[in-house]
Protein backbone atom coordinates (compact mmCIF):
# COMPACT_ATOMS: atom_id res chain seq x y z
CA UNK A 1 0.00 0.00 0.00
CA UNK A 2 1.49 3.34 -1.02
CA UNK A 3 1.44 6.57 0.93
CA UNK A 4 -1.23 9.24 0.89
CA UNK A 5 -0.60 12.20 -1.40
CA UNK A 6 0.76 15.51 -0.18
CA UNK A 7 -1.52 18.55 -0.53
CA UNK A 8 0.50 19.96 -3.46
CA UNK A 9 0.19 16.63 -5.30
CA UNK A 10 -3.57 16.61 -4.65
CA UNK A 11 -3.88 20.05 -6.31
CA UNK A 12 -2.08 18.77 -9.40
CA UNK A 13 -4.56 15.88 -9.60
CA UNK A 14 -7.63 18.13 -9.48
CA UNK A 15 -9.61 17.81 -12.72
CA UNK A 16 -10.07 21.60 -13.10
CA UNK A 17 -8.24 24.42 -14.87
CA UNK A 18 -8.64 28.17 -15.09
CA UNK A 19 -11.15 29.79 -15.23
CA UNK A 20 -12.88 27.08 -13.23
CA UNK A 21 -10.22 26.15 -10.69
CA UNK A 22 -11.19 27.58 -7.31
CA UNK A 23 -8.35 26.23 -5.19
CA UNK A 24 -5.10 28.13 -4.53
CA UNK A 25 -3.74 26.13 -1.61
CA UNK A 26 -4.65 23.06 0.37
CA UNK A 27 -3.38 23.78 3.86
CA UNK A 28 -4.47 20.59 5.60
CA UNK A 29 -5.62 17.12 4.56
CA UNK A 30 -6.35 14.11 6.73
CA UNK A 31 -8.72 11.12 6.79
CA UNK A 32 -11.46 13.31 8.20
CA UNK A 33 -10.67 16.90 7.28
CA UNK A 34 -9.66 19.19 4.44
CA UNK A 35 -8.70 22.85 4.56
CA UNK A 36 -7.74 25.19 1.78
CA UNK A 37 -8.08 28.69 0.43
CA UNK A 38 -8.84 30.70 -2.68
CA UNK A 39 -8.37 34.34 -3.64
CA UNK A 40 -11.27 35.69 -5.72
CA UNK A 41 -9.37 38.00 -8.06
CA UNK A 42 -11.34 41.04 -9.25
CA UNK A 43 -10.55 40.10 -12.89
CA UNK A 44 -12.67 36.94 -12.75
CA UNK A 45 -15.07 36.92 -15.66
CA UNK A 46 -18.35 36.39 -13.82
CA UNK A 47 -17.99 39.69 -11.94
CA UNK A 48 -18.81 41.45 -15.22
CA UNK A 49 -22.34 40.10 -15.10
CA UNK A 50 -23.05 39.26 -11.44
CA UNK A 51 -24.27 41.83 -10.90
CA UNK A 52 -24.29 44.65 -13.46
CA UNK A 53 -22.09 47.41 -11.99
CA UNK A 54 -22.17 45.63 -8.63
CA UNK A 55 -19.78 42.67 -8.54
CA UNK A 56 -20.61 39.99 -5.95
CA UNK A 57 -19.37 36.39 -6.04
CA UNK A 58 -22.26 34.12 -7.13
CA UNK A 59 -23.48 31.53 -4.60
CA UNK A 60 -22.94 28.74 -7.13
CA UNK A 61 -19.27 29.74 -7.39
CA UNK A 62 -18.92 29.74 -3.59
CA UNK A 63 -20.54 26.30 -3.57
CA UNK A 64 -18.16 25.15 -6.32
CA UNK A 65 -15.16 26.45 -4.35
CA UNK A 66 -16.31 24.53 -1.26
CA UNK A 67 -16.87 21.41 -3.38
CA UNK A 68 -13.42 21.59 -5.00
CA UNK A 69 -11.61 22.02 -1.68
CA UNK A 70 -13.92 20.20 0.71
CA UNK A 71 -15.18 17.31 -1.36
CA UNK A 72 -13.04 16.64 -4.45
CA UNK A 73 -9.65 17.35 -2.86
CA UNK A 74 -10.58 15.26 0.17
CA UNK A 75 -11.86 12.49 -2.10
CA UNK A 76 -8.60 12.43 -4.08
CA UNK A 77 -6.65 12.33 -0.82
CA UNK A 78 -8.77 9.50 0.61
CA UNK A 79 -8.35 7.44 -2.55
CA UNK A 80 -4.73 8.36 -3.17
CA UNK A 81 -3.49 4.92 -2.16
CA UNK A 82 -5.99 3.08 -4.32
CA UNK A 83 -5.51 1.88 -7.86
CA UNK A 84 -8.16 3.95 -9.60
CA UNK A 85 -6.60 7.28 -8.61
CA UNK A 86 -5.32 7.87 -12.15
CA UNK A 87 -8.68 8.36 -13.82
CA UNK A 88 -10.68 9.35 -10.80
CA UNK A 89 -14.01 11.01 -11.49
CA UNK A 90 -16.25 12.50 -8.85
CA UNK A 91 -19.82 13.52 -9.64
CA UNK A 92 -21.63 16.03 -7.45
CA UNK A 93 -24.83 14.48 -6.11
CA UNK A 94 -26.27 16.96 -3.61
CA UNK A 95 -25.66 20.28 -1.91
CA UNK A 96 -27.43 21.98 0.94
CA UNK A 97 -25.89 25.37 1.58
CA UNK A 98 -26.91 28.51 3.44
CA UNK A 99 -25.36 31.85 2.52
CA UNK A 100 -24.78 34.33 5.32
CA UNK A 101 -22.58 37.11 3.99
CA UNK A 102 -21.68 38.42 0.50
CA UNK A 103 -18.21 37.79 -0.90
CA UNK A 104 -16.87 40.74 -2.89
CA UNK A 105 -14.03 40.76 -5.46
CA UNK A 106 -10.49 40.49 -4.05
CA UNK A 107 -11.62 38.47 -1.02
CA UNK A 108 -9.47 35.57 0.13
CA UNK A 109 -11.61 32.81 1.54
CA UNK A 110 -10.81 29.75 3.58
CA UNK A 111 -12.76 26.50 3.27
CA UNK A 112 -13.01 23.98 6.09
CA UNK A 113 -14.47 20.56 5.46
CA UNK A 114 -15.23 17.64 7.75
CA UNK A 115 -16.11 14.18 6.49
CA UNK A 116 -19.56 13.01 7.55
CA UNK A 117 -19.12 9.63 5.90
CA UNK A 118 -17.40 7.89 3.00
CA UNK A 119 -19.31 4.70 2.28
CA UNK A 120 -20.24 2.79 -0.89
CA UNK A 121 -18.29 5.33 -2.99
CA UNK A 122 -20.29 8.26 -1.66
CA UNK A 123 -18.46 11.03 0.17
CA UNK A 124 -20.52 13.47 2.20
CA UNK A 125 -18.94 16.43 3.98
CA UNK A 126 -19.91 19.25 6.27
CA UNK A 127 -18.36 22.40 4.82
CA UNK A 128 -17.98 26.04 5.72
CA UNK A 129 -16.30 29.07 4.14
CA UNK A 130 -14.70 31.90 6.12
CA UNK A 131 -13.72 35.32 4.82
CA UNK A 132 -10.58 37.29 5.73
CA UNK A 133 -12.32 38.55 8.87
CA UNK A 134 -12.93 34.93 9.89
CA UNK A 135 -16.69 35.37 9.50
CA UNK A 136 -18.65 32.42 8.13
CA UNK A 137 -19.92 33.40 4.67
CA UNK A 138 -21.62 30.13 3.82
CA UNK A 139 -21.96 26.62 5.21
CA UNK A 140 -23.79 23.35 4.73
CA UNK A 141 -23.23 19.90 3.36
CA UNK A 142 -22.02 18.62 -0.01
CA UNK A 143 -21.98 15.06 -1.32
CA UNK A 144 -20.57 13.32 -4.38
CA UNK A 145 -20.06 9.87 -5.80
CA UNK A 146 -16.83 8.36 -7.04
CA UNK A 147 -17.69 7.26 -10.56
CA UNK A 148 -16.46 3.93 -11.88
CA UNK A 149 -15.22 4.06 -15.44
Amino acid sequence: MCQKLKPTDVISKLPYAKPFLFVDELTFLSENKAEGNFHFLPELDFYKGHFKDNPVTPGVILTECMAQIGLVSLGIYLLSDSENIKNLKIGLTSTEIEFLKPVYPDEKVQVLSEKIYFRFNKLKCKVQMLDSENDVVCRGSIAGMILNN
Binding site: T93, S94, Y117, R119, F120, N121, K122, A143, M145
Partner: protein, 87 residues
Amino acid sequence: MIKMTDQDIISRLKHIVKPYVQREIGMQDFNKQTDFLKDLEINSANLVDVVLDVEDEFGIEVDNDSMQGMLRVGDAVNIINNKKSIQ
Protein backbone atom coordinates in the same frame (compact mmCIF):
# COMPACT_ATOMS: atom_id res chain seq x y z
CA MET B 1 -35.56 -10.92 21.77
CA ILE B 2 -38.79 -11.41 19.85
CA LYS B 3 -38.10 -12.19 16.20
CA MET B 4 -39.10 -9.46 13.76
CA THR B 5 -41.57 -10.55 11.13
CA ASP B 6 -40.94 -9.56 7.53
CA GLN B 7 -43.96 -7.29 7.82
CA ASP B 8 -42.35 -5.47 10.77
CA ILE B 9 -39.19 -4.97 8.73
CA ILE B 10 -41.14 -3.73 5.71
CA SER B 11 -43.04 -1.15 7.73
CA ARG B 12 -39.80 0.13 9.30
CA LEU B 13 -38.20 0.26 5.83
CA LYS B 14 -41.14 2.25 4.52
CA HIS B 15 -40.57 4.82 7.25
CA ILE B 16 -36.81 4.99 6.46
CA VAL B 17 -37.16 5.51 2.69
CA LYS B 18 -39.93 8.10 2.94
CA PRO B 19 -37.70 11.24 2.90
CA TYR B 20 -35.87 10.05 -0.23
CA VAL B 21 -38.88 8.99 -2.33
CA GLN B 22 -39.57 11.10 -5.43
CA ARG B 23 -42.48 9.01 -6.76
CA GLU B 24 -45.09 9.13 -3.99
CA ILE B 25 -47.53 6.83 -5.78
CA GLY B 26 -44.96 4.03 -5.44
CA MET B 27 -45.45 4.19 -1.64
CA GLN B 28 -49.14 3.25 -1.86
CA ASP B 29 -48.28 -0.36 -2.60
CA PHE B 30 -45.02 -0.80 -0.71
CA ASN B 31 -44.11 -4.50 -0.74
CA LYS B 32 -41.18 -6.88 -1.35
CA GLN B 33 -41.42 -6.34 -5.10
CA THR B 34 -41.07 -2.55 -4.82
CA ASP B 35 -37.96 -1.38 -6.70
CA PHE B 36 -36.14 1.45 -4.92
CA LEU B 37 -34.93 3.13 -8.10
CA LYS B 38 -37.75 2.40 -10.56
CA ASP B 39 -40.89 2.38 -8.40
CA LEU B 40 -39.86 4.97 -5.82
CA GLU B 41 -37.39 6.97 -7.97
CA ILE B 42 -34.87 7.20 -5.13
CA ASN B 43 -31.65 8.38 -6.77
CA SER B 44 -28.69 6.03 -6.46
CA ALA B 45 -26.69 8.49 -4.32
CA ASN B 46 -29.57 8.73 -1.85
CA LEU B 47 -29.82 4.93 -1.77
CA VAL B 48 -26.49 5.09 0.10
CA ASP B 49 -28.24 7.20 2.77
CA VAL B 50 -31.09 4.67 2.89
CA VAL B 51 -28.55 1.90 3.57
CA LEU B 52 -26.83 3.94 6.29
CA ASP B 53 -30.22 4.58 7.92
CA VAL B 54 -31.01 0.85 7.69
CA GLU B 55 -27.71 0.10 9.46
CA ASP B 56 -28.63 2.47 12.32
CA GLU B 57 -32.24 1.32 12.56
CA PHE B 58 -31.45 -2.41 12.66
CA GLY B 59 -27.99 -2.32 14.25
CA ILE B 60 -26.28 -4.11 11.38
CA GLU B 61 -23.43 -3.41 8.97
CA VAL B 62 -24.11 -3.76 5.26
CA ASP B 63 -21.16 -4.76 3.06
CA ASN B 64 -20.48 -3.62 -0.51
CA ASP B 65 -21.79 -6.79 -2.17
CA SER B 66 -25.07 -6.67 -0.25
CA MET B 67 -25.44 -3.00 -1.10
CA GLN B 68 -25.06 -3.70 -4.81
CA GLY B 69 -27.71 -6.41 -4.64
CA MET B 70 -30.21 -4.21 -2.81
CA LEU B 71 -32.54 -3.31 -5.66
CA ARG B 72 -35.94 -4.17 -4.19
CA VAL B 73 -37.53 -3.99 -0.74
CA GLY B 74 -37.37 -7.81 -0.61
CA ASP B 75 -33.57 -7.70 -1.07
CA ALA B 76 -33.31 -5.35 1.90
CA VAL B 77 -35.53 -7.64 4.01
CA ASN B 78 -33.26 -10.60 3.16
CA ILE B 79 -30.10 -8.64 4.00
CA ILE B 80 -31.55 -7.55 7.35
CA ASN B 81 -32.73 -11.10 8.20
CA ASN B 82 -29.36 -12.60 7.25
CA LYS B 83 -27.34 -10.09 9.26
CA LYS B 84 -29.66 -10.40 12.25
CA SER B 85 -29.46 -14.22 12.22
CA ILE B 86 -25.65 -14.25 12.50
CA GLN B 87 -25.50 -11.69 15.30
